[in-house]
Structures are given as C-alpha cells and as structure tokens.
Symmetry: C2
Subunit: 104 residues, 2 copies
DNA sequence: GCTTTATTTCGAAAAAACTAGAAGTAAGCC
DNA sequence: GGCTTACTTCTAGTTTTTTCGAAATAAAGC
C-alpha cells in the first residue's frame, strides 16, 4: 500500500530534472517507435555519459524501456506507467469537499 | 521557453518524495477548503520541522498555497497548476508516430 | 581481426536534498 | 502580562544527486 506511493514518488523524482523531463517529452512525442540515444542526445545536448546516466534513471523508474537495435539503444515511453502516474495525482480529488466541484 | 521545462521539472521534483507526495494527495483530496499543518502532520507522521520543510517546498514550487487562520496555517492545492503539469507530460504525444494510436 | 560507431560504466568532486532536535515567532486565552 | 498551542526557522550531519572526462564494451563493416 505504501509501496505505491514510493514507486510513484520515484517516478516523479525521475521527472524532476530539466534534462530528464526534456528526454521524456521527446520520447513520448516519438511514439511507440521510440528514439535512439543518439537522437535524444542531439535534442537535449548534454555529454553522452551524462545522458546515459539520466536515461538509466528513467528506465529504472519504469517510465522508459530500452531495446538494442544494432549498435543503437532505442528508448520508448511506457505510456501505461505514465498514465497511471498522472491519474494517481488526481485520485479521490475533493473527496472531502462538499461544495467543491470547480477543482477536478 | 526553457523556463517552462524548468518550472515543471521543479514541480515534479517537489512531488518526487514519498512524504511530499502523500502531503499533496492529502491536500488535493481535502478540496478547496484545504488542510491545516496539524491535520497534515497527523496524516503523514513526520516531525513538525521536517514537515514544515516539505510544505515550504511544495508552496515554493507553486503546487500549494498557504493562508493563516488563527494560529493554524491552512494549505490548499493549486488545482490549476497541477492540471497544467499533468497535461504538460502528454503534450504533443505521438506527434511523430504514424501508426501509433494506442498510446494516448 | 582491426576499425569505426554508438553507448555505457567508472571514478571523483561539487551541489543539493533529507532529517530532525532545539530555539524562535505569533495568535489566542486566562 | 504570562501561558499554551501551532508552526516555522536555525543548525548540522548524512545521504543522494548531478556532472562529465576517461576508459570500457559491444555490434557492424572492411
């Protein structure tokens, strides 16, 4: 029960960095085909070793998946995980509020 | 333009901690009336000084607002900010994808 | 098998986050 | 004015994050 909060907090923490957030959005926009580490690097413009570290964290958090294609590593978004995460933030919104309809 | 990414990354970073995520959900569920620091503390069970630190960060990130009521400090969620944040993650989803309808 | 290309792992230093006890502030009550 | 309640700020120690050059790995092509 508490594991759920921890997992989602880890996911949010993974997104709580400008470089990683830009990476995630780039990959989300790339669709199910995903994007290679090289393509991502061209977009975010950070050293390869730094990017690799950030990609690893996004994968560990479960927001991205990797697959090897030749010498390239292709990253794709886990849309299900992302949906569950955004839904979680709004879960039971205003359940205590009486006259509160404006919020959700 | 880059400020937007940075701001949202700061918001996500603010949510990237189990204690703060539990706080946000509690306050979101409390509706527009909000919840006092004391009520929040009873829910998350951390020392007052630790909680105060976390609350401050959520306010600084713009996800929560505070107002003083007597000796109490009442925190309320900024539903607009939260909505903009969750929308941002899905913005332009699959815009590069051809046969990708399943994701969004 | 050697070279190139693509990316990850190692290592190490600087910055930031997390935690919490102790002390401070501020409103309300007697 | 003094006491209580409700929080916040100060201070400090520990852990985590962030960064990136250099070295390592791994698949392909010649």
């Amino acid at each position: 029960m508490s594991a759920k909060v921890d997992r989602h907090a880890a996911e949010l923490g993974a997104l709580g960095n400008p470089v990683r957030l830009r990476v995630l959005r780039f990959v989300v926009q790339a669709g199910t085909a995903g994007a290679s580490a090289g393509a991502i690097q061209a977009h975010v413009e950070v050293p390869a070793s730094t990017l690799s570290h950030h990609l690893k964290r996004l994968v560990t958090a479960g927001l991205l998946s990797v697959r090897g294609v030749g010498t390239s590593h292709v990253y794709a978004a886990d849309y299900g995980a992302l949906r569950r995460l955004t839904d979680y933030l709004w879960e039971d919104c205003c359940k205590e509020g009486k006259a509160a309809k404006a919020c959700c």
